[in-house]
Symmetry: none
Subunit: 220 residues, 2 copies
């Protein structure tokens, strides 16, 4: 793999700019898109199909770990490299549980970061040396926790879950608006949020999601 397509995900645009500039040192790396939130990362990953997603853990809304979980579940080919400032246990293990391919600290030297991107792009796993110790320690005592431990549904607000219920029944925005006694524009907003948070393309995918996840039970 010569050319590696990279998606940057960080809520701080200065950090994104810095990373983008840093990665352009290597001409075989191409930053195809940048996202400021986890939800945006999912949308952009679907659109641009990057080889590697450089993902910050700390973000408002859908955080890096939840986003990673959804990304990997939907697009297994994508490699997620987690970036963080501190080496917090929760982040490390949460990220690996979610299916991340690697985990590097932001204070890593530029050339090492570039090397890390290439490593995960090649399908290898990668951990910052200072992190490796923690991982093998914990691996020894604990079995690997389940992938779907925390439901994506929990990222939805109560109202959004309600809207998803109506989406699952195939109702239009107008019909949902009538049912909830709000404006259609409000329903549109809720629907947008539901689709973004769940990483779904459109309301049709929401129907399928509902059946596949038991929100809709096929009546016989």
């Amino acid at each position: 793999m010569s050319q590696v397509r990279v998606l940057l995900v960080d809520d701080d645009h200065l950090m994104r700019a810095g990373l983008a500039g840093l990665l352009t040192i290597d001409p075989s790396l191409e930053v195809v898109a940048q996202a400021a939130t986890g939800a945006e990362a999912i949308v952009l990953t679907r659109r641009y199909r990057p080889d590697v997603v450089l993902m910050d853990v700390q973000m408002p809304g859908l955080d890096g770990i939840a986003a990673t979980q959804q990304l990997v579940a939907e697009i297994p080919e994508v490699r997620v490299l987690i970036l963080t400032t501190f080496e917090l246990d929760d982040y490390v293990f949460g990220a690996l549980r979610a299916g991340a391919s690697g985990f590097v600290l932001k204070r890593t030297r530029p050339e090492d970061l570039i090397a890390a991107v290439h490593t995960v792009a090649d399908g290898e796993a990668l951990l910052s040396p200072s992190v490796t110790r923690r991982v093998i320690d914990r691996m020894a005592q604990q079995p690997m926790p389940r992938l779907s431990g925390t439901s994506v549904l929990e990222t939805l607000t109560p109202r959004e879950r309600e809207v998803l219920g109506y989406l699952a029944q195939g109702l239009s925005n107008r019909e949902i608006a009538d049912a909830l006694v709000v404006e259609e524009s409000t329903v549109r907003t809720h629907v947008k949020h539901v689709l973004n948070k769940l990483g779904l393309r459109d309301r049709i995918q929401a129907v399928i999601f509902s059946y596949e996840n038991g929100i809709n039970e096929p009546r016989q």
Copy 2:
């Protein structure tokens, strides 16, 4: 049942006015509300709980057949009497599949229309004489299409069943076209036929139909 409560549904307000006036000839009929769209019909049916819904087929937005389907599914007690100007096959069978109790032409004489309302209010089914012919014709060659049966699927051509399979997976017309290696316009035609034959509003309802009828099996 002495007093019959009626909901009028027609996008043409002149037609509604005409029907309303016509029905007031019979003091045992009471027009409790009027709707201009299918969606409105559903809302008003919830609110006013009419005995009979006099429903036009041709309406912008949610058409009479789709509205009937939802109405009957949600409120089985309500009797839907379909009104139309022309006796088109798609309308007739789509409406009956959707759960309509009757089907009358707008050119029916006033006293016959009033009689029709009373008939369906009593729980009987009713068809305009000119429509009955078509129904028994079709009955002769194939069993009455019904909601729960798989017989409706047999009205689809092989290609249409194939398209339904892709619809069930939530694919767009473009994606189905690529899968079948035909033009998108061809897929559009197939999709139209599938929706018409199954009496479905849109591809979203097709997804739901597929799950409810075992075309899609929810995994796990």
